[in-house]
Structure formats: structure tokens, C-alpha cells
């Protein structure tokens, strides 16, 4: 992960994968993957859950709301926008 703090994600941003990145579930490893040229990113369970909601239609606020409904005790509102911004900085979301 980059050490410098990314710019926070705007709440009305609708995160989506760029065309060069494919998300798929890997049945062999039981993990969600991002596939791109020369690179595979293996997401943990939480990351996979967030990425499945990045459909280009749902805003960051909508993603946070959806996850907070399922995981009321997790620090979703703080962590998820920062996670999305980090992925955007790496070019894995836009």
C-alpha cells in the first residue's frame, strides 16, 4: 500500500473498474481477484465485498450505506472511502 495518504474519495463519486481491470471470483483460492495486464491483485474478504459494489452506478455514500447495513459494528464510514481512494490512486478504480 502507498505510504502517502490519498485524497479522500468524494461522496458522490461512483467507483467503477477501468476497462483494463477485470474482477473475478477465483474458486480455486476462494478469493476475489482483480486481473490486469501483468498483474493479479488478490483481495481479502472485506476488499472483495467493497469491490463487488463498485458498479459505476452506486456512489461512495451508497456503498458505505449498503455495507454499514450488513456490518453495523465495523468502521465502514472511515475505512471504505479511504480504501476506494487508494485503489483509485493505483489506477484500479476510476
Amino acid at each position: 500500500m502507498p505510504s502517502d495518504a490519498p485524497a479522500p474519495a468524494a461522496v458522490d463519486w461512483r467507483p467503477a473498474l477501468p476497462p483494463s481491470v477485470r474482477r473475478r471470483h477465483d474458486q480455486v483460492r476462494g478469493a476475489e481477484l482483480l486481473l490486469m495486464p501483468e498483474r493479479v491483485v488478490r483481495l481479502n474478504a472485506e476488499g472483495g465485498r467493497v469491490l463487488r459494489l463498485c458498479d459505476g452506478r452506486t456512489t461512495v455514500e451508497g456503498i458505505v450505506t449498503a455495507l454499514a447495513r450488513d456490518f453495523p459494528d465495523a468502521p465502514i464510514a472511515a475505512d471504505v472511502p479511504a480504501f476506494l481512494a487508494r485503489l483509485r490512486d493505483r489506477g484500479w478504480l476510476r
Binding site: 483494463s20 477485470r22 473475478r24 477465483d26 480455486v28 483460492r29 486481473l35 490486469m36 495486464p37 501483468e38
Partner: protein
Amino acid sequence: MTGVPAVAEAPWALLAEVTHACPLHCPYCSNPLELVRRSGELSADEWARVFAEAADLGVVQAHVSGGEPLLRPDLERIVSAAARAGVYTQLVTSGVGLTAGRLGALLDAGIESVQLSVQDARAADSDLIAGTAAFAAKERAAEVIRAAGVPFGLNVVLHRRNLGHLAAILDLGRAWGAGRVELANTQFYGWALRNRAALLPTRDQLDEARRTVAAHRERHPSGPELVWVAPDYHDGVPKPCMGGWGARSITVGPDGTALPCPAAYAIADLDAPNVRAHDLGWIWRESPAFNAYRGTGWMKDPCRTCSRREADFGGCRCQAYALTGDAGRTDPACSLSPDHGLVLAAVAASGDGETGLPGLVYRRPGRRRTAS
């Protein structure tokens, strides 16, 4: 017993060398010295089985390469089999024959990204290394790839004759619209080892190239992404063999030969399995070839007790074999290897002048031709 047990983890990637036929004759080609004839190539149906078995094993990425894969008239069928298996597939091409129509058909079949090779920044220099006039075709291919909007990587093999042109090569990458430029310093086995005296760079050339890359990254922070594939002769540090022998990747050659690394054809005593005789699951998990150097149990001193044994895996098995005749020895690129003098002598012989360079032995099936 020290070390990691030789357990086969799931492989991530498949290098599918669908043909050894190629319009180019690069003197550092990663194909073996003994090239497979067209009549010996796997059919598209056989490749479909390979991709399905690979996906079952855990392979999620494939590089469809060669030779020149576009020379397979049934390439679209091969690619769609990979896509059907759910594998993210990259076309690795010289660009010769890549028309808009062909690329469109391949994208329809499931190609996700394209890697184009170029040999140098200027047509004359690039064509000299390619052994044929191909630069103009590459320029057209770059335009076709860019117009299609597909992820586009440029691959340049670096060596003594083009390292001095690196700034111009990077400018070419920008001009052609590549999103990623892979700067692959020549690895010396097979054809490249035969041409080592002509291709091995000097230390000064490499130092200058590193500065050029750093400056280009600083000047162009938004890309293209520059990937520097480090050379291993000059620093005394071996490269980690394929992330470990039989750890991440499978190479399948045109005739179905399966190997842990594209350079491993040369290891004569390896007894490489073939997908025509075995399924890929057996090849990956059970075959003697894939288990030969898996884990760390095979290591001798100095690797056996080295703190870096799980970081670089004793270096490159193919290089150990090529330089010492024993694939189980420490890679001579390592400063701890008792054979390191072999590498140091080659570097010392590279000197620092440009005079007296030997001619190139071009990659050709069954015969050799030299030029200067």
C-alpha cells in the same frame, strides 16, 4: 532438513507459446535453439484442453505468445478457448500482421491486452536486431492497438547495442501511446547466451540507463508505467527464478512440452512432460520435472543455509545449467556462488568500449547466419 517442503501451490499464469514460427530473428530470442516445426504444433482443440485444465488448477492469466502467434490462422479459436476457461489473456506479438481486422477478431475472441515488441527506437537499428524490416509494421500495429483502446504494453529487450538509445526508446513508447513499457534487460540463455559477447552491456551503460529511467519517471509521473527488469550479471544478486521453480507459472510450448520456465527447454536431463501425454494437473503436481527444484529441499551449499534462499530460490536454474552444466548448483550470477567467476569474467570482457563487437547469430530454425 531445512527449507520449504515441495508442495505445489496453485499456479497463477500460463505462457502459451502457440508457435515457434516468427518473421523476426532476434538474436536474444527466448525460444529454444531447437525450434519446433509447424507440423508438430498443438491443435486449437488441444490448446482448449490445456486452458481448461490450467483454469481448473488455478491459472487466471495467460500470455499467448510464440514465435509470432498471429501466424496461427486458428489463433482466434485458441483465444476464445482461453476466454471460455475464464483466463485473462494477453497477446504477445511482434506486430507483424496485426491489422485492425485481425485485432478486432482477437478482441471479440477474448484478448484483454496486447504486448508489442520493438527492438530499438529507430527503424534501421530495430530492423538490424530483428534481422528483417519490421519497424514500419510495428508502427502500424501500435496505431491499430491504440485505436482499439485496449491496454497496450511495449516490450523492449535491452542490451549493449540499444541501451544508449534508451531515452529515445522511452519517447517512442509515449509517442506510440503505450500504457506500460517493459524494459527487459537481456537474460543470457539459449540464443542470447550464444550472442552474449555482442549483447552483454557494460556497467556504465547500465548505470546510465537506470538514471534515464528515473529521470523519465520523474518527468512523466502519469505514465507510461516503466517496468525495469533488472539485469543479473553485474550486481552479484541472482534473480528469483520464476518466483520459485514450479511455484507460479507454467510454460507450454508449441508441441505441448510443459515447463516451469520458458528457458528450461535447455536443461537436457529434465525429462519435460508433454500435455499430449499427461493432464496439466499431473504435470504441475506430480511430474518429476516440476518437482525437481520446487521448494528448497534440493539445494546444496551455499544456498541450503542462505538467509535469502526463500527470496531468490538459488537464482535461475536454467542459468546454473547453461553456465555449469548442473541445474542444481547456485546460480553463478550470485556473488556467493563458487562459479561467480564465470559471470565476472564475462562482465570484465564486456569492457567499456564499443569497438570489436562480434557479429550476431540470428535466431533461425536449423541454421545460423551472422551479420555485424
